[in-house]
Amino acid sequence: MTKQVQQLDRVIIRFAGDSGDGMQLTGDRFTAETAEFGNDVSTLPNFPAEIRAPAGTLPGVSSFQLHFADHDILTPGDAPNVLVAMNPAALKANLGDLPRGADMIVNTDEFTKRNLQKVGYAASPVDDGSLAEWRVHAVPLTSLTVKALEGFDISKKDAERAKNMFALGLLSWLYHRPTEATVKFLQGKFAKKPDIARANIAAFQAGWNYGETTESFSVSYEIKPASLTPGVYRNISGNQALAYGLIAASVQSELPLFLGSYPITPASDILHELSKHKRFGIRTFQAEDEIAGVGAALGAAFGGALGVTTTSGPGVALKAETVGLAVTTELPLIVVDVQRAGPSTGMPTKTEQTDLLMALYGRNGESPVPVIAPATPSDCFAAALEAARIAVKYRTPVMLLSDGYLANGSEPWRLPEIDDLPDLRVEFTTQPNGDDGETYLPFKRDPRTLARPWAVPGTPGLEHRIGGIEKADGSGNISYDPDNHDLMVRLRQGKIDGIARDIPALEVDDPDRDARVLVLGWGSTYGPIAAAVRRVRRAGGKVAQAHLRHLNPLPANTGEVLRSYDKVLLPEINLGQLALLLRARFLVDIISYNRVRGLPFKAEELAGVIQDVIDSE
């Protein structure tokens, strides 16, 4: 049978199943194959906080969406073209996102009476005609896998578990993906269980062969490689890029990295990643709690290390007092907040941008800290380097605001040239700096940066004491003098404000320079906003786009940019935190657009919002 091959420019696939079905792994492998093939790709995992919710239930559904194309793309896609549903719960949980006419591949083996009842289906939707508006491919994935593995020396359970590889094989056939890397991956993953490795590879190949022979699939699809900027690429998630950025910061600053951290979703993978790279001289310390994590990092910074702590919102709340101590002792420290849905425990695996005001103001006293937010998963690398640059140069804690979407999402990353990375080397103070040539004044500042000297224990003659009590300007001795306090409050603020001179101006993308509406964003909304802007422009709309990476201090030209447009639209995954700040600071009437659903914006949704603002001109 000859099968038809259709050309597509882009596809969005969503793999969905029970949290024990291996959907994240399946998605990761399809992503790797797709990246290797040369498409541009963007991914969005979506999983419950429960490690194994009861099998077959709606809360237990885990999914992985990926968007790949023959051109550069900015988001994991709004709505899938293809849904792979491993059971009735996965179908029910995802059907609402699936446009009419889209394909679905359904594992009919799991559509048993009991599994249907668990999610409230009276009859199987595959049979009762309720899915007539979609193109349903009913495939008994489990039994086909078990049959393909007859004769293997493995248990029935292990055979059934390989069904995700069968599905991956089928999808790999359907979209002409290269398969060698997955075979190699499975050999490596199950190196200690060669029987399981062989079975999974066999299931993967059986899935491919099934696609080629069965009549359920008459068409396969080709998506040509994208023409990306020349260079060497790898696929990378935000958490991994952030960890690599911290390692790069350690190498470039020649300071040993000390990570003090307490496990918390969705930040733990940074701790895991850094723990693997001890040969870079990295010390990772899994502390007894969030407070000890940041405390140990600060103690290490006092000793001359690049101190880092990684956490999510609830952890930032606990670390606040120590961050304040770092502000007043003026020691370098990087605080990574991988934001998640709050308040309190909230929705640990879901994304949000709701910690901005906490990062800026969530401490007692006047306690300014620089805040940086990466825009995309791969940008987490550069953002970590930038956070380190500011922390070390200005002797200050820096907040790095990633989020769950960036942390777990992935995209191809064009690897930087090592020679192009910034030089972050720092000189420790080794000589007295007092006018008498003998005294060391720990709070005598560099007149240009207002940073104080950094003299580490072990340096003879510079023995000094620092602490949380207000210090006299210069000497650092305890001081309750009212005017000194006022001066120190202003000096600490002035130091952070002055960083505005040392960061890039806010760039505006306004191709024809005639837009009257500016859409502004910060952090992980970059992709959806940029994709929405493209849609609006393609439809003839005029819109300018700008994206803030430095939230404190803001780029020096921010006010000027905001005032040069008739209308400024600011989508945020919070209730308008940046909008509040910008309105207060620049007296510009920002139009806020807010959704707090634990999910990233959709490009289509934002395109509509932008168009409405343009139309209301």
């Binding site: 690599y244 000390f258 010390r283 000890a292 140990a296 000793g303 064009r414 690897l415 602490g467």
Partner: protein
């Protein structure tokens, strides 16, 4: 991993610790004056902290360490002002967190002699978690816990070591909370060095500090310290010439545990008991073994002052050799570097599945 990580507990001879071998030494003669900072000491007149400060300043010169390699880290409370008065590196941090901050410093800088100054409220209430974890990890710290059984800096509320029924500003009808025994707590956390001493007994205090400094790993030294403003006389029995020799059970490794009139022996119920010294034969008296890997006898000794200071053991309850946290951490780094060579950034970034475009 080397044997130090795997052989666990083992006996060491007294003073056989290696606590200071990684800290650079100086041949210059040091005196008490070298360790005094230029800051005016601001505790209440008559406070026990003065005696401890003088004892510490007087004892540091004999360590022969380079002054710049000594760091004092403190939390919050009266005692936590201590670092300002010593001409070493110092970090006056926040309430309860000194062990956490010192852990980061000591874990990354084995060349430093790191001292934590804390009080009963700082170490056992707000910072209790950090204390027990620093002890179980055996971070190379000397933790001096000034126990005055009261909150001083906040003006006289009861503390986690105050006796039940304590009448204070916050407990006008008496406190309800059973106090912690810091020695029992430290032993429960399997601290490798646990000792108790008294602010007014400079000789004993300095001898304990000497052993603590020589111990590589976490040393917890409880120092009974009088707060003459809010809890005056808390340890008077131990200072009263008529009582102290009968109350104080001296713990010295290899010697029988006795006071002037009392002796400790094994009890019929499997525990230990205090009896009249005259009523027991010499060979029945328990001989102190500070290096016993099993902490249960040390724990039993720590219970002898319950309920109310009838018999108070003073000295080193436990001193066993266990790998320090910084050593283990450094060994992992060395091991990682040894197997795969030092990290190269370019190799790391190019380490995954990569592909070339154009």
């Amino acid at each position: 991993m080397s044997d130090i990580a795997t052989n666990g507990l083992r006996y060491v001879t007294p003073n056989g610790g290696t606590g200071l071998t990684l800290v650079p030494r100086t041949d210059e003669k040091q005196t008490l004056k070298d360790f005094k900072s230029d800051q005016e000491v601001r505790w209440c007149p008559g406070c026990g902290d003065y005696a401890i400060l003088a004892a510490v300043q007087g004892f540091l010169p004999e360590l022969g360490l380079r002054r710049e390699n000594i760091v004092f880290v403190s939390g919050i409370g009266c005692s936590s002002r201590f670092p300002y008065y010593l001409n070493t590196y110092g970090f006056h941090s926040i309430h309860g967190r000194a062990p956490a901050i010192a852990t980061g410093l000591a874990a990354s800088r084995p060349d430093l002699s790191v001292w934590v100054i804390t009080g009963d409220g700082d170490a056992l209430s707000i910072g209790g978690n950090h204390l027990i974890h620093a002890l179980r990890r055996n971070v190379n710290l000397n933790i001096l816990l000034f126990n005055n059984r009261i909150y001083g800096l906040t003006k006289g509320q009861y503390s986690p070591t105050s006796e039940v029924g304590k009448i204070t500003k916050s407990t006008p009808m008496g406190s309800l909370d059973r106090p912690f025994n810091p020695i029992s707590l430290a032993l429960g956390a399997e601290a490798s060095f646990v000792a108790r001493t008294l602010d007014s007994d400079r000789k004993h205090l300095q001898s304990v500090l000497r052993e603590a400094a020589a111990h590589r790993g976490a040393s917890l030294v409880e120092i009974y310290q009088n707060c003459n403003i809010f809890n005056d006389g808390a340890f008077d029995q131990m200072k009263d010439p008529a009582l102290r020799d009968d109350i104080t059970l001296r713990l010295e490794h290899g010697l029988p545990i006795v006071s002037a009139s009392k002796a400790v022996r094994r009890a019929a119920n499997g525990g230990i008991e205090v009896v009249d010294r005259a009523s027991v034969a010499e060979d029945e008296i328990l001989v102190h073994d500070a290096h016993n890997p099993d902490p249960s006898v040390a724990f039993a000794l720590s219970r002898l002052d319950e309920p109310a200071f009838e018999h108070v053991p003073l000295g080193i309850f436990r001193s066993v050799d266990r790998p320090a946290y910084d050593t283990l951490m450094a060994e992992q780094l060395k091991e990682a570097e040894g197997t795969r060579g030092p990290g190269v950034l370019g190799d790391l970034l190019h380490g995954g599945d990569t592909w070339r475009v154009g």
